[in-house]
């Protein structure tokens, strides 16, 4: 499944490798997530869980994202990656964080386990091949 980078306006540098993840319960608005091999887990804003009706329970961890301390609520959530007629669904742990001042969610290594990834920064695309393991 090949995805174009997302270009950004103004002084935000070059286009970013972003993929859109369908979060269960929020199918009409796939969440743009920055592919981040420097991050260990999948992290999204807490608002995503609220919009999707995901119960976060009481468990939470204090975590640091890019130097900012935030509270992450882990939840096992079904995610789907779509591209045309292709689709891959899996259920990783996602940390829903508050505060979350970033523009995108983060698709860290924990979210990349089911995929083989090819990234072409020059041509500005990333391709994720589901491995079904």
């Amino acid at each position: 499944m090949k995805h174009a980078f997302q270009a950004l306006p103004g002084h935000t540098g070059r286009a970013r490798p972003v993929v859109d993840l369908v979060v269960e319960g929020l199918e009409l608005a796939p969440q743009a997530c920055l592919l981040d091999t420097g991050a260990s887990e999948i992290r999204m804003g807490r608002h995503v869980a609220e919009l999707a009706g995901i119960d976060l329970g009481d468990t939470h961890d204090q975590i640091v994202v890019a130097g900012l301390q935030t509270t992450g609520h882990p939840a096992s959530v079904q995610l789907e990656l779509r591209q045309g007629k292709e689709s891959h669904t899996w259920a990783p742990t996602v940390y829903f964080c508050d505060p979350w001042p970033w523009a995108f969610g983060l698709l860290g290594l924990g979210g990349l386990d089911p995929f083989l990834i090819t990234l072409d920064a020059y041509e500005e695309w990333v391709e994720l091949h589901p491995l079904h393991r």
């Binding site: 980078f5 270009a7 540098g13 859109d20 970033w102 523009a103 020059y122």
Partner: protein
């Protein structure tokens, strides 16, 4: 927008006095409906011409045509356009080469420019809706039975874009 001179128009046999600055102010609180084809740009947002004229005049949309609405609004100085088809969509990025086939287009940096700091839902190369908070964006998608390709906040700086450092 500075104060502008009024323009008298006749729609459905009724006369209205419209001013560009007041049009912009009146539509500020109204989220644009989905664009099917034609749009006018008012306050950096794309509105279906009939929605704009209906909101401004209180007239039923059956009382006038899209082209009539478009002509009135462009006469007030608002730019108009037609939604781009997929074939016309700009490739992502600005300076890089794109030989990659079968990649869904995304909005260009220029398309996103008016929405810096806002949450957007996008489809192909277009912005479907923009709002200050994600709940409004999702509410709009549900209300108008729209399916987005992607939802995110248009970053205002490098830090928001990459999460490279705390704010």
């Amino acid at each position: 927008m500075p104060e502008t001179s009024p323009k008298t128009v006749t729609i459905a046999k009724r006369r209205f006095e419209l001013r560009a600055d007041r049009v912009e102010r009146a539509l500020r609180q109204a989220l644009p409906e989905p664009i099917k084809s034609h749009y006018v740009v008012i306050g950096q947002r794309r509105y279906p011409p009939k929605q704009a004229i209906s909101l401004l005049t209180g007239l039923d949309r059956a009382d006038f045509t899209t082209h009539q609405a478009r002509r009135i609004l462009t006469g007030l100085g608002f730019p108009a356009g037609r939604r781009s088809g997929q074939a016309e969509a700009k490739a992502p990025g600005s300076s890089r080469r794109h030989r990659t086939p079968a990649v869904r287009p995304r909005p260009s940096a220029e398309t996103l420019e008016p929405f810096v700091g806002q949450w957007v839902a996008t489809k192909d190369a277009d912005v479907l809706v923009a709002a200050p908070d994600p709940r409004t964006v999702v509410g709009w998608l549900a209300e108008h039975h729209q399916q987005a390709d992607s939802m995110f906040r248009v970053p205002s700086d490098e830090l928001q874009a990459s999460g490279a450092a705390p704010w």
